[in-house]
Amino acid sequence: MVPSVAVLLAWMIVPLVMTVWFSFQRYNLIDPSMTGFAGIDNYRFLVTDPDFWVSLENTLLLVGSVLIVTVGLGTLLAVLFNQPFPGRNIARVLAISPFFVMPTVSALIWKNLLMHPIYGVFGTLASSVGMQPVDWFADYPLASVIAIVSWEWLPFALLILLTAVQSLDHEQREAARMDGAGPIAQFVFITLPHLSRAIGVVIMIETIFLLTVFAEIFVTTSGGPGNATTNLAFLIYARALLQYDIGGASAGGVVAIVLANIVAFFLVRSIARRLEI
């Protein structure tokens, strides 16, 4: 136990302290003359930078939209795939497959094979029924990224919620049915309350990952056009590795850590309550 705890402790503490330290420094990788203590300058620069607020807004929009789509659809699909029908297991396997596709692949497949205005499937379908093809990434950049990320995470929500639905007590539903509850009433008053905990877990875990969506943006839009799809993760990456502004990037990093910690606080608490040791 000691070695794991030790390496994890080092893994967590060392970079964390360094991030906080750098965020108060003047530090640019290609400008050695910039040194010394910067105080809160990096933070002041960050909060007066419109790009930062746009990136924060984009981050929240991305997380919020994907959560609504995946949890909403995921719940309905979990109930659907719990119904007996021929070939259900194969259908289920097909439906959860997108989760195992690496993010760079899914982003490129969507961008080039599906959403490309001239060569993509959507464009061709639109033209064949006489509609104008849409240039998704130019006209609706953030919505396009949201669509891709939702496609990746819907299977995750489905998988977790399906596991939860399967543990539903049949006698309870049977009793409700006897009392004359229709399918919708059963769903609202029995299935949903039963799923509430699993939904909570899905929301928390997805939020942690969605706050730092990176590869999908990196390969499709590189944060653009302009800053339309720059989220916090991409902003920090651009600051540090494209503009070499270590101090500014670190200040952004601290903001990201604070954001994630707010979510983590609730997640750890909700899991701790169920933990039997």
Partner: protein
């Protein structure tokens, strides 16, 4: 629950439609990979299949290098994580103390640290240690990244092993190492295997550290695929062939380990 034939038909139609829609991008990727470049830019279902793109991708010597990097880094990261995690999970499951619960929860909380938050220091540390663009560096990162999940999963599997079996071994004079190796490991082999599988999947698909910490020497398939995003690289059939080969093995692994995945990813909170 009894369902009328009509209900079943409805569920089947809806279920299959949803499944096929969700699977369509993957299906289309595989289909495109068998087209010639000319056919690939015209979305249609009928075409004369060819292995041209696969040959081309393989002919690029560096594809093999990228694939090899992916294998080495994923397997290395997983093995390293297991090496650290097995003793940790063992002591937590069989010799718990007052602090075990707290330690487990703390491990979980390290998973919440967003990678972007620590990108800068890790990048600088790697640069000064000469670990940038090395397999060793990524193996270490991946092992640390998955360690909390791996410890948690192993812990839940070990907890199901009755303590008496291990005690009997100890009576017979087994030392701790023998106990873990000859008693615990064989008993929990399926659990350890599925834990490793989950870790492999996560390493294989990881695309934040691999994109930021590698350039050419140690870059895995995630980075290779990302290099197709440049505008001049618009070869749809080759992109699809490379993607199909990058995704196929892990997709098959994923199909087999769905259930463990739920447990691992929710830290056992949903069963």
């Amino acid at each position: 629950m009894r369902a009328s034939p009509l209900q079943r038909l409805f569920a089947a139609a809806l279920g299959w439609t949803v499944a096929l829609v969700l699977f369509f991008p993957i299906f289309w990727m595989v289909l495109t990979s068998f087209k010639s470049e000319g056919d690939a830019i015209a979305p249609r279902l009928l075409f004369s299949p060819t292995f041209e793109s696969y040959r081309d991708v393989f002919a690029r010597a560096d594809y093999v290098a990228f694939a090899l990097n992916s294998v080495v880094i994923s397997v290395g990261g997983t093995v390293l994580a297991l090496l650290f995690a097995i003793p940790a999970a063992y002591s937590m499951a069989f010799h718990p103390t007052d602090r075990t619960r707290g330690t487990l929860l703390w491990m979980l909380s390290t998973k919440m640290l967003p990678p972007v938050g620590v990108l800068v220091p890790i990048y600088l540390l790697f640069r000064s240690a000469g670990l940038l663009d090395t397999r060793t560096g990524l193996v270490a990162i991946y092992a640390l990244m998955n360690l909390p999940i791996v410890v948690w999963m192993l812990f839940t599997f070990y907890k199901e092993v009755p303590n008496e079996i291990l005690e009997a071994g100890r009576m017979d004079g087994a030392r701790t190492l023998t106990e873990v190796w000859f008693l615990l490991l064989p008993l929990t082999l399926p659990g350890v295997a599925s834990t490793g599988l989950l870790s492999l999947i996560l390493c294989w698909n990881e695309a934040f550290w691999s994109l930021n910490l590698t350039s050419a020497g140690a870059a895995p398939l995630t980075a290779f695929i990302a290099s197709f995003s440049s505008p001049e690289g618009l070869f749809f059939a080759k992109l699809s062939a490379a993607s199909t080969m990058a995704v196929a093995p892990i997709l098959v692994f994923g199909w087999f380990s769905q259930r463990q995945l739920v447990q691992g990813l929710t830290f056992g909170a949903v069963k």
